[in-house]
């Protein structure tokens, strides 16, 4: 059933209906995924534009390109856009939305209309944020620390806060849909132990979205009320405690890091077995580690606050728990590596991104241990060391996984093959550009350069120049896939149903899939990742 001849006349989700209405009112999870893909790409480039401004400003130690206020707004909006409008929805709302129903053999998510609603909520929040941006922007830093955000900033904090409050609901609804779908919509025979690890990871992600996001929503709402209605909950001049804001903020925002990285791990867990032609090593442990990360991830938030004035004893507990959460992440890395052992490893583009992910995430994760170590964190907290660390995790990890996933499932999404040679080149450029951008920041951070500095002592300049140079390479690396993927929509070779000979259910339906995914509800009688039973894929040719 999997290799039915592809007919160009075949009805699929893309050509089932035409016209703008058929897209804006669709309840098809695949179309909604594409709506998300377009919207988050848009925000990615806006966020990237601010990143570029930041890097250009930091080329010289003096604050010469823009004013201090402009710079503060640039890094604030870079952070907020990238975190709330790109990274958090990136893999879940695009790839998760597209793939989860297909992977479990369902026709759609459990609540298709809520799925569409979540996209509209995202768009409303996005428009609100863009309005905030064009009307002057916001300068609180993405963390909104009080009392600066609640009492001192003269920028559009209320609008930005409300926008992020709203976008939280989009995230909650997506998570709600995933959890219910995984519980209720699995095809006959698709037991929990047969679920692809992609689904397991997204299940864990969804739990974080459901239980964490409301906290940031209410916290930002309280800040907004403090600004607008003069309530005084975090105001130190009235006996309020600004550190309470940090507790509430990080209760969500630390687990939010796992919202970003878990889906990326989900992608890697699919790519590595497929391009090693092997059953994934330690399925149970990878699945369980996703859930463990989701659970323990909630217990470590105050490691962002070791110098914020929290209790000494509390800091000890949170430091220890932060080390504990590193274990499940390490398990995943080891298992992916072990999966390649005695495999048949191909160097196709998605696999190159997976290599990149494993490497960069390893560095990002290990430098996380530096930050969990109390005495070291005191020194490197709020310096570029932290910036480098979380970019290694979020850009080196999450974005590498996202790009890998987009390439891996591009034939399924678009029905076309992307040009392999360009794909490999772009993966290489991204990897090199990334390391050149962010590795120097570890050093300059340890030297003591604080983050969010518009001007800095001249002895830090060399590292900043390296970083800016890397950023320009990285920018090329990100633009390239955009160009050739768009190109492939028209000129790419027509993709077969299962170009990689992968095992997932999503590959047992035509490319692109029909509107309800399967012509007949599949019955699953096999375990996940039975690559021993799959034929080898055709050699990937490097067409130029």
């Amino acid at each position: 059933m999997a290799t039915a001849a592809v007919s160009t006349e075949r009805k699929n989700y893309l050509n089932a209906e035409y016209g703008i209405r058929s897209w804006l009112l669709t309840t098809d999870h695949k179309r909604i995924a594409l709506l998300y893909l377009i919207s988050i790409t848009f925000f990615f480039f806006i966020g990237g534009f601010f990143a570029l401004l930041i890097r250009l400003e930091l080329l010289t130690p003096a604050g010469d390109l823009m004013t201090a206020d402009m710079y503060n707004k640039a890094f604030t909006m870079h952070g907020q856009i990238m975190v709330f409008f790109f990274l958090i929805p990136s893999i879940p709302a695009v790839l998760g939305n597209f793939l989860i129903p297909m992977m479990i053999g369902a026709k759609d998510l459990a609540f298709p209309r809520i799925n569409l609603l979540s996209w509209y909520i995202y768009i409303v929040a996005g428009i609100l944020y863009l309005h905030c941006l064009v009307s002057g922007g916001v300068d609180t830093g993405w963390t909104f620390y009080t009392p600066y955000s609640s009492l001192f900033s003269n920028t559009h904090v209320v609008e930005a806060g409300m926008s992020i409050f709203v976008v939280g609901f989009s995230s909650i609804l997506t998570g709600l849909n995933f959890v219910v779908t995984v519980h209720r919509m699995r095809a006959p025979g698709m037991t929990w132990s047969r679920l692809p690890l992609f689904v397991w990871s997204h299940y864990a992600t969804s739990i974080i979205m459901l239980l964490g996001t409301p906290i940031i929503a209410i916290t930002l709402l309280l800040v907004v009320l403090e600004r607008t209605l003069n309530l005084g909950i975090f105001d130190p001049s009235r006996g309020g405690d600004p550190v309470l804001f940090q507790h509430l903020f990080w209760f969500y925002s630390h687990p939010a890091v796992y919202i970003m990285i878990l889906p990326s791990m989900a992608v890697i867990s699919e790519i590595v077995p497929c391009f090693s032609r092997k059953r994934v090593f330690g399925y149970n442990f990878i699945a369980a580690s996703s859930i463990a990360i989701a659970a323990i991830g909630f217990l470590v938030w105050a490691h962002h606050m070791f110098v914020a004035g929290i209790s000494l004893y509390s800091a000890l507990v949170f430091s220890f728990l932060s080390f504990v959460v590193a274990v499940p992440s390490a398990i995943k890395v080891f298992n992916w590596t072990a999966t390649m052992y005695k495999g048949s490893v191909s160097f196709s583009t998605p696999m190159l991104y997976a290599f990149g992910f494993i490497g960069l995430f390893t560095i990002g994760g290990l430098t996380g241990l530096f930050l969990a170590t109390l005495g070291v964190d005191v020194h490197v907290h709020d310096t570029y060391f932290v910036i480098a660390h979380f970019h290694y995790v979020m850009v080196g990890g999450a974005v590498m996984g996202y790009l890998g996933g987009i390439h891996f499932w591009w034939p399924k999404i678009s029905g076309r093959l992307y040009p392999e040679a360009w794909g490999r080149l772009a993966a290489l450029i991204v990897f090199l550009g990334f390391n050149l951008t962010f590795f120097p920041q570890f050093i300059v951070g340890y030297l003591g350069m604080p983050r969010r500095y518009w001007q800095y002592p001249p002895e830090y300049q060399v590292y900043n120049v390296l970083s800016t140079a890397g950023a320009s390479i990285l920018a090329v690396g990100y633009l390239l896939p955009m160009v050739y993927l768009l190109w492939s929509l028209r000129y790419g070779k027509v993709a077969p149903d299962n170009p990689w000979q992968a095992t997932g259910l999503e590959w047992r339906t035509p490319s692109p899939p029909p509107t309800f995914n399967f012509d007949e509800t599949p019955v699953v009688t096999w375990e996940a990742y039975e690559y021993g039973d799959m034929p080898m894929p055709d050699e990937v040719t490097l067409e130029r």
Binding site: F111, R184, M185, T191, G232, I233, F516
Partner: protein, 239 residues
């Protein structure tokens, strides 16, 4: 696993064309109802966390500024609070009975019970509105010329700090305000449900909307069950 999706095959061709309320992507009504119910429960889980953030702030400040919290609590109207708690419990009863009526297919009874629920909901908001009005006239709303001088005078031995009293009232208005917002949303939902019930959309086989709207309503009631002692009943006797 209790929630395994079954093992039989369901050909897509059988689309249950006779059942208008069954959405295309579900295999059967039971699957659809279970999905909706689970979805609602998870949503209530997020709601617990939503209020939880404010409860966290409440606990921390209550611990720090107990006298002000006690005095603020005493300044609230115990009778109104008790009455409102009772009103909400009555509305929960009518919701529970309404779900039962829908299970039994008693349409007229269902509509009446839903209307009663809306009535109790409105009653709650009216009482709450009067309380807020009183607090407005007492200058206890942080937004408008906040003053806690009356509390300072009333409890000389508590050494009330007006700033800390303001924290109590900030939390009080944030908590009751967000709760009232949930009530308003609930009344909106129930208006739609009532209309659907009046049109005869529900029957013993299909009444999921009544059920899940009921879950939401009960949840809002439970939030109030906690708000009542936390806001109204702290240390009425004075420390």
């Amino acid at each position: 696993m209790s929630d395994r999706a079954g093992t039989g095959t369901t050909p897509l061709a059988v689309e249950h064309a006779d059942r208008a309320e069954l959405r295309h992507h579900f295999a059967d009504v039971v699957q659809q109802r279970n999905a909706a119910s689970l979805g609602m429960w998870w949503f209530l889980g997020t709601e617990i966390m939503f209020f939880g953030g404010m409860f966290c702030g409440y606990l921390i400040y209550r611990r720090a500024y107990f006298p002000e919290f006690a005095a603020g609590s005493i300044s609230l109207n115990l009778l109104a609070g008790t009455l409102n708690t009772a009103v909400l419990i009555c509305s929960s009863l009518t919701v529970a009975l309404a779900v039962r009526a829908s299970q039994l297919g008693k349409r007229k009874q269902l509509v009446n019970l839903l209307l009663a629920t809306i009535f109790f909901g409105v009653c709650f908001l009216v009482v709450k509105g009067f309380e807020w009005r009183k607090e407005y006239t007492e200058h206890h709303i942080p937004t408008f010329y906040f003053s806690a001088q009356d509390m300072v005078n009333k409890h000389p031995n508590l050494h009330i700090d007006p700033q800390h009293a303001k924290i109590f009232f900030s939390l009080y208005f944030a908590l009751t305000g967000v709760h009232a917002l949930h009530m308003i949303v609930g009344i909106g939902i129930f208006s739609v449900i009532t209309f659907m019930a009046w049109r005869g959309k529900f029957n013993p086989e299909y009444h999921t909307p009544v059920e899940i709207a009921g879950l939401y309503w009960h949840f809002v009631d439970i939030v109030w069950i906690y708000l009542f002692p936390l806001l109204y009943l702290i240390d009425r006797r004075g420390p």
